[in-house]
């Protein structure tokens, strides 16, 4: 069964729309800057919560930033789609922070006032997804996936499987995470937050920078297309989730989980490694991830590595949104026959010697684009998007 991508929406530190993101990727302009407030390198979305509320014309104002970012990106992807009784439509969003931005404010205030925080307000992930669903008028299958930094890619995979199983005809899938103190402090405590800008796949990489953002895709079956009349952007042809089973946060030296995910996704897409034209790597810029992912890429592609880049050098690591944002970038690569650069690279990793694309290239025939997303718990996901032949 063919799975069509018919809509995309994205907002990140390099733009609030698909067009703005593409432009920044083309002119190699990063969105990571030193935050005046925290003194850290961050990839912040330019819109404030108030601006988003105004743009969407919302009457309620106490939304989590997760819901707000998600609403905007989901609306861009959804476009002019309409609800019809005969098209079973669902929403799957991914988030790791959920309503954490609001709970942080509450905790800080409660601590300040010496209040008991045990009966605190909620940070349930599911509620942020329900907020997005309400805004788009989607009822029925409303799901949230939370597998840390691979969540967004898993939401896309899950939507594909629901359509394949015949349970849905059309599904809005994606991920969203705002910048929250919790994650910034957390990654800092793990000693993997870079003081300067991140340098993915470089021998001298010093860690990651966090970013925020959201991205959504509309997936449809052929039956749905015949009713909606939507024009397919490309196909989602392969997917897999496999587990590293090595350590809660660290990836194995031989990249076992990542290798399995890529190999199985290729098999699912009925493709060989040599068929892949572009790889958007997970590439966080930490010592451990990039070394493990390099080993996995070598396991899969051998010495014929296709052009690849880590667009986290533009957006920062957007956690649960990353897999969805990078899926949108793969679709843009297919649509525009372009390879996006990896920024801040100078020296290949000694052990694997992989060299990413460092400049924007056009007029390259991109037929199949592969993207990786890995999360805590050894959670490894790979997606493959293909041109409709």
């Amino acid at each position: 069964m063919e799975l069509f991508v018919t809509g995309i929406g994205v907002m990140t530190a390099i733009g609030n729309t698909v067009a703005e993101n593409f432009h920044s990727l083309k002119v190699a302009r990063t969105g990571i800057q030193r935050s005046a407030k925290l003194g850290l390198m961050l990839g912040e979305v330019s819109f404030s919560n108030e601006e988003i509320i105004e743009k969407l014309g919302l009457t309620k104002i106490d939304y989590s930033r997760t819901t707000l970012l998600g609403m905007l990106a989901a609306k861009e992807a959804w476009g002019k789609n309409e609800h019809k009784e005969e098209i079973a439509t669902g929403l799957i969003s991914a988030t790791s922070a959920g309503g954490m931005d609001r709970i942080e404010k509450y905790f800080a205030q409660a601590h300040h006032e010496g209040m008991d925080t045990s009966r605190r307000m909620t940070y349930e992930n599911g509620r942020t997804t329900e907020g997005i669903a309400k805004e788009l008028g989607i009822k029925g299958y409303i799901g949230t996936i939370s597998t840390a930094c691979s969540s967004g890619a898993n939401a896309i995979m899950h939507g594909a499987r629901l359509i394949q199983s015949g349970r849905l005809d059309r599904v809005l899938v994606g991920g969203v995470d705002p910048l929250v103190d919790y994650n910034i402090k957390g990654f800092s405590s793990l000693g993997i937050y870079a003081e300067g800008i991140c340098t993915p796949f470089d021998q001298n990489r010093k860690g990651l920078n966090l970013g925020e953002g959201a991205a959504f895709l509309v997936l449809e079956s052929a039956a749905s297309l015949s009713i909606t009349g939507n024009k397919p952007l490309c196909l989602l042809s392969g997917w897999d989730n496999s587990t590293d089973a090595f350590h809660q946060t660290a990836s194995s030296a031989d990249g076992k989980g990542a290798t399995l995910a890529m190999k199985h996704a290729l098999k699912k897409a009925k493709l060989l490694a040599k068929d892949i034209s572009y790889v958007n790597v997970h590439g966080t810029g930490t010592q451990n991830n990039d070394l493990s992912e390099s080993a996995a890429l070598r396991n899969v592609f051998g010495h014929k590595m296709p052009p690849f880049s880590s667009t986290k050098s533009f957006t920062g690591h957007t956690l649960a949104a990353a897999g969805a944002i990078e899926a949108v970038y793969c679709i843009l690569s297919l649509r525009s026959n372009a390879i996006f650069p990896s920024l801040n690279f100078s020296t290949p990793i000694k052990a694997t010697g992989l060299i990413p694309a460092t400049s924007f290239r056009e007029k390259v025939e991109v037929k199949h684009a592969l993207t990786n997303a890995f999360g805590f718990g050894g959670n490894c996901t790979c997606l493959i998007f293909s041109k409709k032949m």
């Binding site: 601590h111 029925g140 939370s146 959670n379």
Partner: protein, 297 residues
């Protein structure tokens, strides 16, 4: 039959040491330990070493670790923050730790849709069976959440007791010889307006009639669910499972466990009649509806 919970009821803990090695256990809260024990016990029951996929539902994940790290952040006065509670606070810690414990490299998913988290995981597992896998481990776990007091208060539901729990299951492509129970269908529906209509649609889709169902295990935090269900079923067929499970976000996983126990014994928990078909109706949050159909075959 299980007796109803009392305010003085205490949470039972098995001997975790015989299931989980000390090195793994030291990074586990009670919720995590419960989930790990259930998962291992499930596999042991059918003599299976590795499931083909793992899907877990949890509303709050490892909320005890989350709270611990949050408290550290707000009371932070310089120095360093310790990373362990942060590292273990992602929602997929439960599923991830099970994969580590088993050395399992297969599919590993975590669904977090508040009171419907388990139904999502169960549906995920069911799709894996349809896709050709043989044995899938599905389950749910949530820790005791003081936050639920707020929900209780909001929903004016003061009778139900706050608890926590974990339940795991193996879904197989072939019927078990000793315990042949079929999961006929599972549905997870958000922003639902008409519970009765959704139940009828599910029954129709599976060619079931309301009168064929021997027992309806339901959970609700408001009066309307029972009223709507009683328009479809005899009141005597309705059983509020929260009386035995207590309230936690994924207690519908307990209901499935309870239902399989009832079906294997074939006896109604209260009345003297046989039970072959069960509907589980999770409507704890009024606009969220989880439905499961089970049959002894």
């Amino acid at each position: 039959m299980l007796s109803a919970l009392e305010p003085s009821s205490e949470i039972l803990h098995p001997d975790y040491t015989s299931f989980i090695p000390a090195r793994t256990r030291r990074r586990m809260t009670d919720g995590l330990k419960m989930a790990a024990v259930c998962a291992k016990d499930c596999l042991a029951q059918i003599g299976l070493e590795q499931p083909d996929a793992i899907a877990v539902g949890t509303s709050m994940g490892c909320s005890l670790f989350t709270k611990k790290f949050l408290k550290k952040i707000v009371s932070f006065e310089g120095g360093l923050l310790s990373p362990t509670s942060f590292m273990l606070s992602t929602h997929n810690t439960i599923a991830g730790q099970i994969s580590l414990l088993l050395g399992n490299h297969q599919y590993n998913m975590t669904h977090t849709q508040n009171t419907l988290s388990f139904e999502h995981a169960l549906l995920d597992g069911m799709m894996h069976i349809e896709e050709g896998q043989n044995n899938v481990l599905v389950g749910a776990a949530d820790e005791r959440e003081e936050e639920l007091y707020n929900i209780k208060e909001r929903l004016h539901n003061q009778d139900v007791i706050l608890t926590c729990g974990a339940s795991f299951f193996i879904l197989s492509s072939h019927a078990s010889k000793t315990n042949p129970i079929k999961l006929v269908d599972v549905k997870s529906l958000g922003l639902v307006e008409n519970v009765k209509l959704k139940v009828l649609q599910l029954l129709k889709a599976n060619d079931w009639l309301a009168k064929d169902i021997d027992l309806i295990l339901y959970a609700s935090s408001h009066q309307t669910t029972k009223k709507e269900l009683s328009e479809l079923f005899e009141v005597g067929q309705l059983f509020d499972y929260q009386r035995v499970s207590g309230l936690y976000f994924t207690n519908s996983a307990f209901a499935l466990n309870y239902a399989t126990d009832i079906l294997s014994r074939g006896k109604h928990p209260v009345e003297a009649k046989s039970v072959k078909k069960i509907l589980i109706c999770n409507n704890i949050i009024p606009e969220n509806l989880g439905l499961m159909l089970l049959e002894h075959c």
